[in-house]
Symmetry: C2
Subunit: 266 residues, 2 copies
């Protein structure tokens, strides 16, 4: 099933949408957050025709599981250049997350481009193993890796006690399967697809709950493949920020995200 189908939405009323969380988009049985956000962002996009997703900020309340979901989307302001929306995604009577987002008229910014930090060096995709779901049902790699082509440098695959003393840092590549291209919703997925970077620094392997995430789409694409850098700089009383940058093959930033999460219990 293509990602576009797995995140499809149907308008069922004024600002109301229905969708379906498909199986095998989970980590340890809990549906991936980026996948869920992509579903709501698609519904928001329906309310902002002709405009493209620029940024979305989500705050998680309850875990999601396979099955039907409903969404409510409210347009807060439709401006000349941007549309601001907020919405929630519900399942089984619970709010899974709340979000607000900005959609913009394509090309509304200036032509000015400048980068003050180059894309990181990452081994080419053919030297980065693709993650496939754990055969024995253990948490890593998660079932959701069957649905995407998530590649990591061999160095980034060292986790658990063997990684003690290293910095939380993952480098790799991400693309969809069967040539499906990454649009802004695919980039949303990609920013939240990699394992927590703290796993690569000797911190506990376990459920690392995301409190909130903000995702910026810097180039809507479509992109065939993106280079990914996932890193954490500060763990403070068990709370951590995780930053992700995605780059195209020419080394241009195409998306970035930051999330606040809690370290897994040791």
């Amino acid at each position: 099933m293509k990602f576009a189908e797995a995140t499809a939405v149907e308008k069922v009323g004024d600002g109301s949408y229905a969708g379906e969380v498909h199986p095998n988009w989970d980590i340890a049985g809990i549906t991936n957050g980026g996948y869920l956000i992509a579903i709501l962002a698609r519904a928001m996009g329906e309310e902002a025709p002709g405009r493209e997703l620029k940024s979305v900020s989500a705050r998680f309340l309850n875990p999601g599981f396979p099955g039907p979901v409903t969404m409510e989307v409210e347009t807060l302001k439709e401006g000349k250049g941007t549309t601001t929306l907020q919405g929630q995604l519900f399942q089984g009577g619970k709010t899974l997350f709340t979000a607000h987002a900005t959609y913009s008229v394509p090309g509304m910014g200036s032509e000015i481009d400048a980068s003050f930090r180059p894309a990181p060096e990452v081994r080419p995709p053919e030297e980065c193993p693709r993650l496939v779901p754990a055969l024995d049902g253990s948490m890593l790699p998660p079932p959701f890796t069957a649905n995407v082509d998530l590649m990591m440098e061999p160095e980034s695959l060292v986790m658990g006690p063997a990684a003690q003393g290293r910095a939380p840092d993952i480098k790799g590549w991400f693309r969809l399967l069967d040539g499906e291209l990454l649009d802004p919703y695919g980039l949303v997925l990609a920013t939240d697809a990699f394992p927590p970077a703290v796993f690569t620094a000797g911190f506990p392997l376990g459920w690392t709950p995301t409190v909130d995430i903000s995702i910026y789409i810097r180039d809507p694409g479509p992109h065939e493949i993106v280079k990914a850098h996932v890193h954490t700089r500060h763990v403070t009383n068990g709370w951590l920020e995780e930053d992700v940058e995605l780059w195209d093959t020419a080394g241009r930033l195409v998306a970035q995200s930051r999330q606040l999460a809690l370290l897994a219990k040791g």
Copy 2:
């Protein structure tokens, strides 16, 4: 007037609050965003008694001005460790911004602390000039600098054409006046108090609208003074992210923020 008074809120109904945007908290006539968020965050805090602000994400719709404001706050979930809220702040029939936030039980995380990037070297406060409002009414420094002690390294004060070829990067210090300490709401203000870092790299000096901002409180304090690092790494078709880190005098991260903004028209 103390910052706590300038951001005071009064409960006027079930989840409804009233406040006042005081004069001289503006940049080019438009009220500072961090100051506005602090007002709504205080109202949210009233709905989460005994819990402290951990993170807040806001999305701006309309500019604010001195005068009365009203707020609506909704508690989405009150969990064992965290409370999730969302709310809006209104003025003159317009929504100035929407926000969602998480408040947490003090000490709910673990004791684990680890930093993989040290605090930047910044000249001591006594070597960093305090910004004072422009005497001739020009945009920089803004009137709001009269209400805080915002200090910048002399190198960071170079703006406009003279700064061409440099990276967008500001280092300095921030504290409130008359010994008022920085609590989480003061840290919210501090993350959005400095001029846009792109001003220090030859980009146009002018209104640089914030689309959204996410602020993480890593140590609620109270803090007497914080070291600030304000920087932009990527300008993409006129859109830019701006990151801020605030550190205590011992070099520990106490708050960080990221915002998406649009470059001023040249």
